[in-house]
Amino acid sequence: MGIKVEHVSKDFEDFKALDDISLEVPDGSLTALLGPSGSGKSTLLRLIAGLEHADGGKVYLDGRDVTEMSVQERGIGFVFQHYAAFKHMTVRDNIAFGLAIRKTPKDKIRSRVKELIRLVQLNGMAHRYPSQLSGGQRQRMALARALAAEPKLLLLDEPFGALDAKVRKELREWLRKLHDEVHVTTIFVTHDQEEAMDVAEQIVVMNEGRIEQVGEPKELYEHPKTEFVMSFVGEVNRFGDALIRPHDLDLALFKSDGAEEAMIERVSHLGFEVRVELSMANGDHAWAQVTRAQAEELELEEGQIIFARPSRAKVFENGDGPPTAPTDELQVA
């Protein structure tokens, strides 16, 4: 189901949650709404679902104006951060809920629930209650419940936010596979840029109730349109007006053109990656991301003097107005 949002605004008392948002999501895509808390991403998702109503603007699903339509009529599937499991029902009854509401014949419900239980890998748990499941299992049950009535649109609000890191990674991968299998238009909200980059085909970066940029993960990372996007999608160092990714900061033992002197404050070995915290000659702090091999080659250690040279930097025009395109892409050869 293709989605179109046109000039949508939403206030909560005196807080502007959404400020004139327009967005299109193509049919069958997997999209992430990415932003810090309070950026309006959840509000936008709930508005598309029909759980919130816009103060102004229009929402279209499949070209149909659904702005005034209730959540029940929109035929969506919604997954909540804290699962919203029906605690007094078994896994089976939870999943069957949407079908039972639609007065689906019993044998049809039975076969559909069976199919979904297999899909979300909860085999043998049909008769358990939510309290007898782990967080990851509960969320998979919630997903099956949302998918049961075959919605044309699946909306997930921070679906993995309440889970621990390992389970989160597993579910992430699993959601992507599921999308390949089921092909339902999917939008999920997250504040985790890595999660968005890993799972989504298209990312919508939001900040303070506005959309900063829409694009594929690679495009956002390599061609951010605003300073906010650059610093939110990935890590940055700031040298004056220039923003530099930590892996674009080359370290060398000898001075070369464009290199600045720095003292190593700390070296953290994170496996393949090594973080080198630097104190620059002008007093600025920065950090460089190097590989384990590079760190070994340079024999990096605390207190050492080294030369840091940005291989790639970006300067954005500052100002409070609307986001502007970068004015200069500095390439130091």
């Binding site: 919203a84 029906f86 605690k87 007094h88 809920f97 509401i101 639609r102």
Partner: protein, 268 residues
């Protein structure tokens, strides 16, 4: 909490003694006295015409007042927890009024409104040939008044605790308000409702003050069981009083057991 052993036992003994002295022994005495002189004499009073009429009236009152207050209580709790509006604090306070006012005063207030001569509403009904005060409707109204807060007060904290995410989930799955209430909200608050019903029933069964004012205490007609118990003592038929008291206690106990039974779906 680390408490020295002697004080741990001391506290425990204190609580048990308090309960025994104030609660267990007095109630136990009723049972002892009822059976002391044999059953025949005691149950003659209860099975007398006036005794049966009192039992019937009490059961009718419970059957009307408790369901009505349950429906009202759940509705009011939903309004208080799920809706935002001006004057909510006032509504919240109003609901507690029956706890704050003496039942006798409640009885008087009802006479002032529903009395055939004293009250506007009562006068109108009287002209239609319906008596409220000194009749069953007055007794039911008095019992509803005194037991009104129980269901609300039991359900409100449960509603707050469960939040509204499950209800939102139900609506995204296509359930309308009514379906969401029956399939999601009510099962989730059922223990709160249960305790509210048990407490309301106990209060309605035992209400003396307000009922005694509005009923007129006409033996065989407007006498509820508590009034009947009192009457038995007044006419020096102590055995009858004990027996009627025991009937009251048994009904209350049955309610408790029954409400627990209908809730014995698997606990979560």
């Amino acid at each position: 909490m680390s408490v020295p052993r002697w004080s741990k036992y001391g506290i425990r003994f204190g609580v048990l003694f308090y309960l025994a002295a104030l609660l267990v022994f007095p109630v136990l005495m009723i049972f002892v006295r009822t059976f002391e002189d044999g059953l025949t004499e005691s149950f003659e009073a209860v099975t007398s015409e006036a005794g049966l009429a009192a039992l019937k009236l009490t059961l009718i009152t419970v059957a009307i007042a408790v369901p009505l207050n349950t429906v009202f209580g759940v509705t009011a709790a939903l309004v208080l927890v799920r809706q935002k509006f001006r004057g909510k604090a006032i509504l919240n306070t109003l609901i507690d009024i029956p706890f704050a006012i003496s039942p006798v005063v409640i009885g008087l207030a009802l006479i002032l409104l529903y009395g055939p001569r004293e009250g506007i509403v009562g006068e109108w009904f009287f002209d239609q040939g319906i008596r409220i005060i000194f009749s069953t409707p007055g007794i039911v109204i008095a019992c509803m008044f005194v037991s009104l807060p129980f269901v609300v007060r039991e359900v409100v904290p449960v509603l707050q605790e469960i939040g509204d995410e499950q209800e939102q989930a139900a609506s995204t799955l296509g359930a309308n308000w009514w379906q969401t209430f029956w399939r999601v909200t009510l099962p989730a608050i059922r223990w709160g409702v249960t305790y509210g019903v048990v407490l309301s029933t106990a209060r309605v069964l035992g209400e003396f003050g307000a009922v005694s004012v509005v009923s007129g205490r006409i033996s065989g007609q407007t006498e509820t069981l508590p009034l009947f118990v009192r009457k038995q003592f007044e006419i020096f038929n102590d055995g009858g009083g004990y027996a009627a008291s025991m009937v009251l206690a048994v009904i209350a106990l049955l309610t408790l057991v029954f409400m627990n039974l209908i809730n014995t779906r698997k606990e979560v």
